[in-house]
C-alpha cells in the first residue's frame, strides 16, 4: 500500500515538473509578451517644437529672419505674402525629403486672436501641434505649427 502511494507521488511530481518545463518553453507553453515602446506622450511634441523654432529663426530670402517677416505680416500685405512664400518653400525644401513629414499646417494670430496667416494642410487638425510666441510692435504673435510624420 505504502509503495503504491509512493509511486503515485513520484509520478505526480514528475508530471508536475513536465508541465512546468513545458509551460516555460517559448513557442510551446510560455506566454509571449509583445512589448511596444511608445516614446513620449502626445503633448510632448518635441519634434514639432524643433521644426517650428528652426523655421522661425531661419534667414529668409529677403534678408530677414522668418520671425521678423511674420512680425510685420499683421501690418503689411507685402510682408504677409513674403512670409507665406518662405513658409511654403521652407517646409517643402527642408523637410519633405530628409524627414518623412507627411503634412504641415502653420497658423499665426495676434494676442487679440486676430488671424495673421493660415497655411498648409487644412482638412483636419494634425496629430502633433506646438506653439511659440514671437514679438511684434503690437504685442506677441502666437505661431502654431501642426505636423504629421
Amino acid at each position: 500500500m505504502f509503495v503504491e502511494f509512493a509511486i503515485a507521488v513520484v509520478i505526480l511530481t514528475v508530471l508536475w515538473l513536465v508541465v512546468k518545463v513545458a509551460m516555460a518553453v517559448p513557442g510551446f507553453g510560455a506566454a509571449e509578451i509583445k512589448t511596444t515602446g511608445v516614446f513620449q506622450q502626445a503633448e510632448f511634441s518635441s519634434v514639432c517644437d524643433y521644426w517650428l523654432m528652426n523655421f522661425l529663426r531661419a534667414d529668409s530670402a529677403y534678408g530677414m529672419e522668418n520671425s521678423d517677416l511674420l512680425a510685420y505680416a499683421s501690418e503689411s500685405a507685402t510682408y504677409k505674402t513674403y512670409f507665406e512664400n518662405e513658409a511654403a518653400n521652407y517646409f517643402k525644401a527642408n523637410y519633405r525629403r530628409p524627414l518623412p513629414l507627411a503634412r504641415w499646417a502653420l497658423s499665426a494670430e495676434t494676442s487679440a486672436y486676430i488671424p495673421v496667416v493660415k497655411l498648409g494642410y487644412k482638412d483636419h487638425a494634425l496629430a502633433q501641434t506646438c506653439a511659440q510666441k514671437i514679438p511684434s510692435a503690437k504685442g506677441p504673435i502666437t505661431v502654431t505649427l501642426g505636423v504629421d510624420y
Partner: protein, 181 residues
C-alpha cells in the same frame, strides 16, 4: 465493464494519457496567455526636453524683441538706409521706450508649464555709424515650472543691427522713399 489493466502497464498508460492531455492543454492555453503590452517610455526625458525648449523659446523671443525694438526705434527717430544710417541721436531713449512694450504680456504657450521671465537690463552699444549692438542680461534666470520639474536658464541677448538690416526691412516693407537716404 472496462478492461482491467493492472500494474506497470496501467501506470505507463496513465502517464502517456496524462502527458498528452497536459501538452495539448498547454498549447491551447498558450494562445490566451499571449499579451500585447504597450509601454510608454521616455516621459522623463521628453519632459526635460520640453522644459528646456520652453526656456529656449523665451530666449528666441528676447533676441527678436531686441532686434525689432532697435529697428523700430531707429526708424522712428528718422534713420534711413545707406551709409552711416545709424548715426542718429536719441536711439538709446527711444529703444528703452520700445523694448518695454515687448515684455508686458505672458510669453508661455504651454498649459503644462508656468514660465517666468526675469527682468532684463538692456543696453545698446554703438559700434560704428553703420552698426549697433543690442545687449540684454539678467541677474535672475528664466524659470520653467512643470508638474515634476523646474528648469532655470540664463538669458543673454546680443544682437547686431546694421544698415543692411535696416535696408532689407525698408525694401521688404516697400518704404523705398527711405532707402538710400
Amino acid at each position: 465493464m472496462f478492461p482491467r489493466i493492472r500494474g506497470k502497464k496501467a501506470i505507463e498508460s496513465f502517464i502517456v494519457v496524462l502527458f498528452i492531455m497536459i501538452a495539448v492543454s498547454s498549447i491551447l492555453v498558450k494562445g490566451s496567455m499571449d499579451k500585447d503590452v504597450s509601454v510608454e517610455i521616455g516621459q522623463r526625458q521628453a519632459e526635460l526636453l520640453k522644459v528646456y525648449t520652453e526656456a529656449e523659446k523665451v530666449r528666441e523671443y528676447a533676441n527678436s524683441a531686441g532686434r525689432l525694438a532697435l529697428m523700430d526705434a531707429a526708424l522712428e527717430i528718422g534713420a534711413k538706409s545707406g551709409a552711416n544710417c545709424l548715426a542718429v541721436h536719441g536711439l538709446d531713449e527711444k529703444f528703452n521706450d520700445k523694448i518695454i512694450s515687448y515684455f508686458n504680456q505672458e510669453l508661455s504657450t504651454s498649459a503644462h508649464y508656468n514660465v517666468t521671465v526675469p527682468k532684463i537690463t538692456w543696453a545698446i552699444r554703438q559700434i560704428s555709424d553703420d552698426e549697433v549692438i543690442v545687449s540684454g542680461i539678467s541677474a535672475d534666470k528664466i524659470l520653467v515650472a512643470g508638474e515634476n520639474y523646474e528648469y532655470r536658464a540664463g538669458i543673454y541677448v546680443n544682437q547686431a543691427v546694421t544698415c543692411d538690416d535696416l535696408e532689407n526691412f525698408l525694401k521688404a516693407s516697400g518704404n523705398f522713399e527711405l532707402i538710400g537716404g
